[in-house]
């Protein structure tokens, strides 16, 4: 445990010791802030119109109209942000030769992988907490439901956990950070759109591909529905990414 903690501290310090953390956090907040602002604007205008009609007035729902689309947009930004957080984690160690220090220290490969993973996940958590500040405006001026909002954030956290595990895996494959980042973006984009095939009919391989996509699993959560199958999806695939990373490092040393 202490070993993992030492690595987490070192990685988080490395994020903040270089411009990466500041640039990524600032850019991310700018985008999220803009999406939130424009969604709120649209929501206010629509709500004003709909309030004229008592029937439509009941349909106004800030969770569905602002937070759900906002959270979807955040996952798309995350497709671009996650590789930036993960690309250097293992690739840079290999390139700089510092992996030789780690692997000749009394640390297990599992501890090294987990230390790196938790550090990137901590960065993602910090970013999420910062975006939560935006929601204070919505809660101060309107009355959104808390449960779907919390579920949305849980979904975002789990999506980050999955994306970072995938990014870490690609970082273990190469010592070139650009290659690691690009392969991660490609994979994450596929995960975003794989469920499109189910729109032209389900069944068979289509439903398998649809299941692989995170979009539907995540969509359920932003509606405030927490189902075991969605949780299982995020947890198994995150674990699978870490397991593959572990195997890649282990096999490289034994070759």
């Amino acid at each position: 445990m202490t070993n993992i903690w030492s690595l987490v501290k070192k990685e988080v310090r490395a994020y903040f010791g270089s411009p990466i953390a500041y640039v990524v956090i600032a850019g991310f907040l700018l985008l999220v802030g803009y999406f939130f602002y424009s969604l709120m604007n649209w929501f206010n205008a629509t709500a004003l119109q709909m309030a004229q009609n008592p029937y439509y007035a009941q349909q106004i729902n800030i969770n569905e109209m602002v937070f759900s689309p906002l959270f979807h947009n955040v996952t798309i930004i995350l497709i671009l942000v996650a590789p930036l957080l993960t690309m250097r984690l293992l690739a840079e160690e290999k390139k700089a030769g510092t992996d030789e220090l780690l692997f000749t220290s009394p640390l297990s490969v599992g501890e090294i992988v987990l230390g790196k993973y938790i550090a990137a996940l901590a960065m993602w958590t910090i970013m999420l907490v910062l975006t939560a500040l935006l929601s204070i405006f919505a809660f101060a001026t309107g009355n959104p439901e808390l449960t779907p909002w919390l579920m949305g954030y849980l979904g975002l956290f789990l999506t980050g956990a999955l994306f970072i595990a995938i990014g870490l895996f690609f970082s273990s494959l190469t010592e070139n950070q650009i290659v690691a980042a690009f392969l991660t973006v490609v994979t994450l984009l596929l995960l975003l759109v794989l469920n499109w095939v189910t729109s032209s009919g389900g069944g068979g391989w289509r439903s398998v591909l649809g299941y692989l996509s995170y979009s539907d699993h995540f969509g359920e959560m932003t509606k405030g529905i927490l189902e075991t199958k969605d949780l299982v999806y995020f947890l198994t695939f995150s674990f699978f990414g870490l397991f593959l990373t572990h195997s890649v490092i282990q096999s490289r040393r034994w070759r």
Partner: protein, 307 residues
């Protein structure tokens, strides 16, 4: 302290190390000598647990490298060929991080960092970023990180590579100062380094062991005779013949622009040789002892295929 038995490492078809056997006693400095691509780095990586061996055994500080890797890693300090530095850290915070992952107890960490900073002479740069310090300092940081957990054994892969002559001398002094407290295995392809710093030597070439033993034994087995190389105003056959006439001299021959004079081991005829050169007015410019290990090394290494 270090025991290697029949160690073999294969990378696919390539045999980097073949049946290597040697041992190093506690408290000694041993050199691992060989041309490039001889298998020095591979041997060290196996000893430090970075690479597994294909076959054979190795024990360090009484622990088997393959069965007890964590115990070995705790007993070894390792300076890899490429010094493993995090460029964006300060010297101090880097050493503190290494102390943590080498499992130095929390209460002792600060003292350990201060100790290695003092012994590696890093006081002036402790708060600077590693990327901003000179190459010589980086190498010292590398040695400092290897010593941070006060390991019994130090494995140093080419500790003086890429340094200027003054820095090389400093690093050698530093290593010599560690004799006794630590058992040290250092690799190099520079011969004088071995004769200046080491007690013994393991010579490998293309993965094969060529020699293993103390420097004193090496000199004894190598040289049946003692001798000097003379640089005179003129080095010709006549001058050589003059030296052959001296009582006790076994051999005197022209070698390039020098004259090599040899006599049976056990005597010291240097005074006589010098006196003759002065008496006959040969214009003595320089007189130096034959470098035994250098010759042996060249013989050993030149025997193999192209390096």
């Amino acid at each position: 302290m270090i025991e290697v038995r029949e160690l073999t490492k294969r990378y696919g078809e390539l045999e980097a190390v073949r049946g290597l056997t040697f041992s190093v006693e506690a408290g000694r400095i041993w050199g691992l000598l060989g041309p490039n691509a001889a298998g020095k780095t591979t041997t060290m990586r196996i000893l430090t647990g970075y690479l597994p061996a294909t076959s054979g055994r190795a024990t360090v500080a009484g622990f088997d490298v393959f069965d007890k890797p964590d115990d070995v890693k705790r007993s070894i300090g390792y300076l890899p060929e490429v010094v493993p530095l995090y460029q964006d850290m300060t010297v101090q915070s880097y050493l503190a991080f290494v102390a943590e992952i080498k499992q130095v107890p929390k209460a002792k960490r600060k003292a350990s960092v201060d100790r290695v900073i003092a012994s590696a002479g890093l006081g002036d740069v402790r708060r600077r970023l590693i990327k901003n310090i000179s190459r010589g300092y980086k190498q010292r940081v590398g040695i400092a990180q290897a010593m941070i957990h006060d390991p019994k054994v130090l494995v140093l892969d080419e500790p003086t590579i890429g340094l200027d002559p003054a820095q090389i001398r400093e690093i050698r002094e530093l290593i010599r100062g560690l004799r006794g407290e630590h058992t040290i295995l250092l690799s190099t392809h520079i011969l004088p380094e071995v004769t200046q710093v080491c007690d013994g030597v393991v010579i490998i070439d293309h993965g094969d062991l060529r020699y293993s033993g103390s420097l004193a034994d090496l000199a004894a087995s190598l040289q049946k005779s003692d001798g000097v190389l003379l640089r005179l105003r003129r080095a010709g056959e006549e001058e050589a013949a003059l030296f052959r006439g001296l009582p006790g001299i076994e051999k005197a021959a022209v070698e390039g622009d020098e004259i090599r004079v040899e006599w049976p081991r056990g005597r010291d005829l240097r005074d006589e040789v010098a006196r003759l050169a002065l008496d006959k007015g040969l214009g003595l410019r320089e007189m130096r002892s034959m470098a035994g290990i250098e010759e042996l090394y060249m013989k050993i290494v030149a025997g193999g295929p192209e390096q």
